[in-house]
């Protein structure tokens, strides 16, 4: 234990909990990750075939495909195409979509609100449900409430995403006929995909929240709080639950990334026009500018989310940034 002077303690309290060095370190990491992702996707797209093969109609002959490759510059050596691409990007020139001639980022940005709406709502709902059930299973007075909800959630977690989606469609669209199966023409289209994704988020949050609460249940500060005569519920909520939030926050941030990735499956299943569906489509049709733009945006979003989470964790627990 170090002794801190009253003045030092005051200064520490006034200082922002986020140090600039921490931000710089994190941002550099994000740039490297971005470059890595772009490189991998670029190589993957080209390693899986000359885009001209896909652009040409299926009845084109080998000669005609080669001519098309020449016109589009796909006949150049891969490293040259890659360096040209990077050089252009650093100058702010990004190729347009091969099929729509619109800027590739515009194509992706048009889909971002759809995916965010799906992802954020699912994470918020899933996390809320997870926190509630996690809390109940660790702290409820009622033995049934402590065991049943978390068991149900475990069961839900063991059902894969696409299968859960199919079950929900079967129940709510085909049997009960309450909700549409697919597409995006009204808010009713959102319910099933959001529930499917939330089913993926809630169990993880619930389990971590429960185990962290249980781990710290007998920590000294909680025993002290109890000894001071604070009510059991207040101890549970203010001292036990709040302190268990830091690791859960990190997890929720990571879930957001997971949900965006999982949305590829769910968007395809529910024919939902989001970034995931666009990414799949642009890879299949070799619209490489759009595929690259989508990956860059997803990577940026993921990094931003994890940066925000790190900042949030530092605010909750300032010791975190020096670890």
């Amino acid at each position: 234990m170090t002794t801190v002077s009253r003045f030092g303690a005051l200064r520490a309290r006034l200082r922002s909990p986020i140090e600039p060095a921490f931000l710089v370190r994190r941002s550099l990491g994000a740039v490297v990750a971005l470059w890595g992702a772009v490189t991998i996707v670029f190589l993957m797209l080209y390693a899986t075939g000359n885009p001209a093969e896909v652009l040409a109609p299926e009845t084109a002959t080998a000669e005609q495909v080669a001519e098309l490759a020449r016109q589009y510059g796909f006949d150049q050596p891969l490293h040259k195409q890659y360096l040209d691409f990077l050089l252009n990007v650093t100058q702010g020139i990004f190729p347009n979509s091969l099929y729509t001639a619109r800027p590739a980022f515009q194509e992706v940005l048009m889909r971002v609100p759809n995916t965010l709406l799906l992802g954020f709502t699912a994470v918020v709902l899933g996390s809320a449900l997870g926190l509630l059930i996690g809390y109940l299973s660790s702290s409820s007075q009622n033995a049934l409430m402590r065991t049943i909800p978390i068991r149900v959630l475990m069961f839900v977690q063991s059902v894969p995403n696409f299968f859960m989606g199919l079950l929900l469609i079967y129940l709510f669209s085909l049997t009960l006929r309450w909700l549409p199966t697919s597409g995006f023409s009204s808010w009713r289209n959102l319910i099933l995909p959001i529930v499917t994704l939330a089913c993926y988020v809630a169990p993880n949050v619930a389990r971590l929240f429960r185990s962290t609460m249980n781990e710290t249940r007998f920590d000294e500060h909680i025993l002290t709080a109890r000894a001071k005569g604070i009510s059991e519920r207040a101890v549970r909520i203010r001292h036990n639950a709040i302190n268990a939030l830091a690791p859960v926050t990190t997890l929720i941030g990571l879930q957001l990334g997971g949900v965006l990735a999982g949305a590829v499956v769910v968007e395809t299943l529910f024919a939902y026009p989001g970034v995931g569906q666009l990414l799949v489509q642009s890879v299949v049709s070799r619209d490489y500018p759009v595929a690259l733009a989508a990956v860059i945006l997803i990577c940026l979003g993921y990094n931003l989310a994890s940066l925000l989470v790190d900042i949030l964790v530092v605010i909750i627990d300032p010791r975190a940034q020096n670890r």
Binding site: E53, P57, R102, S185, W187
Partner: protein
């Protein structure tokens, strides 16, 4: 304050993302809802997928229209045409045709479109073979004359896939994402990832479609298409797996069916490999596969074995007298023994999920070949990397499972692929077949051309250059209250549908 900002942000996000429409698009009397794969472009210079071509043929006009129902070629913008020696084609156009913005769709507009397609700067991807065209001229507003360097009898049919856009309009608009229609429908609104909504074009010069509205809903996933059909959100879908065809046929509101499609499944040989260079090995594989059994089981009888030609009835030169290769495992064993493989032979086979039921069929093929002593190593490849897989002959498999079809129904589009110029021709091709296909292209009468095609196909079959399998079935489900004649080209058109009487 912070909470209010958050609420505002979420509300904004919801407002941006949720479309204005209320109830989901369910079938109305004057509307037909059709399942589509994701759309890529509206530009006729770049449209190559069946879904793009389907929309294109309904919002734009082409000179001719190829029917896949009976193989006939009818006029669209052209009311009649004639040729001199197959090298000089004169098309007489329907007078008074217009684009929606009032621009005339006359011979001058057609000439402009050809110039645009053939200009390297356009980087058009659809103009394969168009280098044969030497000039396109418009002596007057109703006449287009196209001259080619060599006879090209198939030109009028090939032109059925070429739609025209408006020259003046194109100067200030992006035809890849905007439409100035001249066809039976206009585009009301669209999102390539989710839907295209069409409305009847009252100014269309041809026959007006029966349904006022058509919605093409993008549903890439097979399972989702089936559930959407069951829930009544779709009036039409095709490309349904044969198993689902049976399941859907129990529903009261749907008519479900299948006809042999235009795409013929075959196995091709990697002729760089010594083990398939002996014609007896290639013949043995043809004898060893029980196509009858596979089409009855895996395809549920929705198709039948192909005869020894990769064409379908209705195509020029389709030979009615050709029959499927007989199933004779004893003969196969004997041929393999003669070729020196009495102790067995191992072959690798590349298969894509791209072709309907191909992975399942390939497993059955492997089992049948095992019975004659051929061990098959299966390589089942996802659609996304299939192209790279089949363009790399050195590292490729000994056999490849492929489906071949023609965009407009011409025979040479398919036959080209088996010559040395074919994209998936690995190693040396059959030289006399090459020569015969060149002769087919240079033919000056249809009768002569048909005879040459029959001869060419016989050369290919005698040399067992392919293992002939079956035409991929065209499977579909359609609401009972809609009338529609199945066409095997994977391009369902709302303009062909009408309410049932």
């Amino acid at each position: 304050m912070r909470n209010k900002l958050l609420v505002a942000a979420v509300a904004g996000l919801i407002a941006v993302a949720i479309p204005g429409g209320g109830a989901p698009a369910l079938a109305a009397e004057d509307t037909v809802t059709v399942a589509s794969l994701p759309l890529l472009t509206f530009d006729p210079a770049f449209a190559r997928t069946v879904q793009d071509l389907s929309i294109m043929s309904q919002v734009y006009s082409s000179l001719t229209t190829a029917s896949f129902v009976d193989g006939n070629l009818t006029g669209n913008l052209a009311r009649e045409w004639s040729d001199v020696d197959g090298k000089e084609f004169t098309f007489k156009l329907v007078p008074g045709a217009k684009f929606a913005n009032g621009e005339p769709l006359d011979a001058h507009a057609v000439v402009w479109n050809f110039k645009r397609l053939m200009d390297p700067a356009t980087q058009a991807t659809v103009i394969t073979d168009f280098n044969l065209i030497t000039s396109v001229e418009a002596p007057d507003a109703e006449t287009v004359i196209i001259k080619t360097s060599t006879p090209w009898l198939e030109l009028p049919r090939r032109l059925s896939a070429i739609s025209f856009i408006a020259p003046e309009w194109a100067k200030t608009h992006n035809p890849k994402v905007e439409v100035n229609p001249s066809g039976p429908y206009t585009v009301v609104d669209y999102d390539f990832a989710s839907h295209v909504t069409l409305k009847r074009n009252e100014n269309y010069f041809g026959e007006k479609p029966a349904f006022e509205n058509a919605i093409y809903r993008v549903i890439g996933n097979n399972q989702t298409r089936v559930t959407s059909l069951r829930s009544g959100e779709l009036n039409f879908a095709n490309g349904i797996s044969p198993l689902d065809v049976e399941q859907l046929s129990s529903l009261e509101d749907l008519k479900v069916g299948a006809i042999p499609g235009r795409r013929v499944h075959v196995l091709r040989f990697n002729m760089l490999r010594d083990n398939v260079k002996d014609v007896r090995v290639r013949q043995a594989l043809n004898y060893a596969i029980n196509k009858e059994l596979i089409t009855k089981t895996i395809y549920r009888g929705h198709t039948s074995p192909a005869s020894t030609q990769a064409l379908i009835p209705g195509q020029v030169g389709f030979d009615e007298t050709m029959t499927p290769w007989p199933y004779d495992p004893d003969k196969a064993r004997q041929l393999l023994a003669e070729a020196g493989y009495e102790n067995g032979l191992t072959l690798s086979l590349g298969v894509s999920e791209e072709y309907l039921q191909a992975p399942q069929a390939a497993q059955a093929i492997a089992a049948q070949l095992a019975e004659v002593g051929v061990t098959v190593e299966l390589n089942i490849v996802p659609t996304a990397i299939w192209t790279s897989f089949i363009t790399n002959a050195e590292n490729g498999t000994d056999l490849v499972y492929l489906g071949f079809s023609s965009t407009t129904g011409t025979s040479t589009e398919v036959m080209n692929q088996f010559t040395s110029k074919g994209r998936y021709t690995w190693g040396p091709a059959n030289a006399s077949y090459d020569a015969k296909v060149d002769a087919v292209k240079a033919a000056t009468t249809i009768e002569q051309q048909a005879e040459l095609i029959r001869e060419a196909n016989r050369i290919l079959a005698d040399d067992a250059q392919l293992v002939y399998l079956w035409p991929q079935p065209f499977t579909y489900a359609i609401s009972k209250n809609i009338e529609w004649t199945p066409r095997p080209d994977d391009r369902p058109r709302a303009s062909d549908m009408r309410p049932a009487q």
